[in-house]
Symmetry: C2
Subunit: 208 residues, 2 copies
């Protein structure tokens, strides 16, 4: 009994570690070859494992891709929540920290963005992908809109609508991901931050 109790979590941990290793390999392959060009054999090779192991853990390319998108969205969501928790107490601090998160080199880099865009390129034909992306997007929208609403109330801003401002901010940072992916040599991270900050300060002059 005692042995089983020790073994079980460690076996689960090993299984989880292997799955994560395969998902990391999948992200690398998608970044290099796109979703269409990625095969289970590529993933196995990238992970240094046999294709049998990939089949054992994920059964099919569809399952593996779906799980990869869930992890990608989950990773982003964790960083998002951590940023909210760790940033200064005021809504303005939190809003700026969230915007900076999207421009951070660890998130806004072609290798990572290529994986996002590869999945977005498939949402039209894969309702599950759309659902995962949509849930993350809505959560992001809600939080940003809530922060905007607090800032509007605090500064008594007239003619500023929280929902419209949140839409503008979210669109702006999403669009920056595209520019970073497409024009990577000319994409200027400092200017991207300046663009976000100038929007914030023109919307909420007392706060930014």
């Amino acid at each position: 009994m005692a042995v089983a109790a020790v073994n079980k979590p460690s076996r689960t941990a090993a299984r989880e570690k292997r799955r994560q290793q395969l998902i990391d390999a999948t992200m690398k392959c998608i970044g290099r070859k796109g979703i269409g060009g990625t095969t289970l054999a590529d993933v196995a090779k990238e992970a240094g494992l046999s294709q049998g192991i990939v089949n054992l853990h994920f059964q099919s390319k569809d399952n593996l891709l779906q799980e990869t998108l869930r992890r990608l969205a989950g990773e982003y969501r964790s960083q998002f929540e951590r940023t909210l928790k760790q940033s200064g107490p005021s809504p303005a601090d939190k809003l700026l920290a969230l915007m900076k998160l999207d421009i951070k080199p660890s998130i806004c880099k072609p290798a990572k963005l290529a994986v996002w865009f590869a999945f977005w390129g498939e949402v039209q034909s894969r309702p599950t992908y759309r659902k995962i992306c949509d849930e993350l997007d809505r959560h992001y929208d809600e939080v940003v809109e809530g922060l905007c609403a607090e800032i509007i109330a605090d500064g008594n801003y007239r003619n500023v609508d929280a929902s419209t401002t949140a839409m503008a901010l979210n669109s702006m940072t999403n669009g920056m991901w595209l520019s970073c992916l497409i024009s990577r040599k000319n994409w200027d991270r400092k200017q991207a931050l300046a663009a976000v900050q100038s929007y914030l300060s023109s919307s909420f002059p007392e706060h930014f």
Copy 2:
């Protein structure tokens, strides 16, 4: 001679018409099945032609996809130039017309956006795709930046940078495409326009 002179353009026109028909079919297939899921057989079926005809005109899936992206970019560019020509004479009129173009139902609709995102999902592994997208993007950026610079000079706006404002505007409209694709039911075209207009009027209060 006279016959040849008549025949030649008509043969070229027929060839061009057939190529366009196949490219239209490709866009439809990509919109429904993604790039990876689209085969030459699907394209032939969608166009109501034989796969031999697809091979005759494009030789390979790679060629067909590249030509499809060129047409997609070319179509967008034509609409962009037409909008510039047809909109009111002032730079503010032109800028607003360009922003509205990106939110128009004929451009900003899931079936069309799915094709753009499918190609963007592949730029990391296909330098030719990136080059085509990058050229279009730069042209867009240059025109928008030029219009912003004219508005800034005209309004003598201080603390507004043309290049940063253009980056913010372009990012905003690109990000709206993503929201329209992902959250199509909840995506609000009127609010998207309101977001762009509120940004324009806070940046250039004398002009918008």
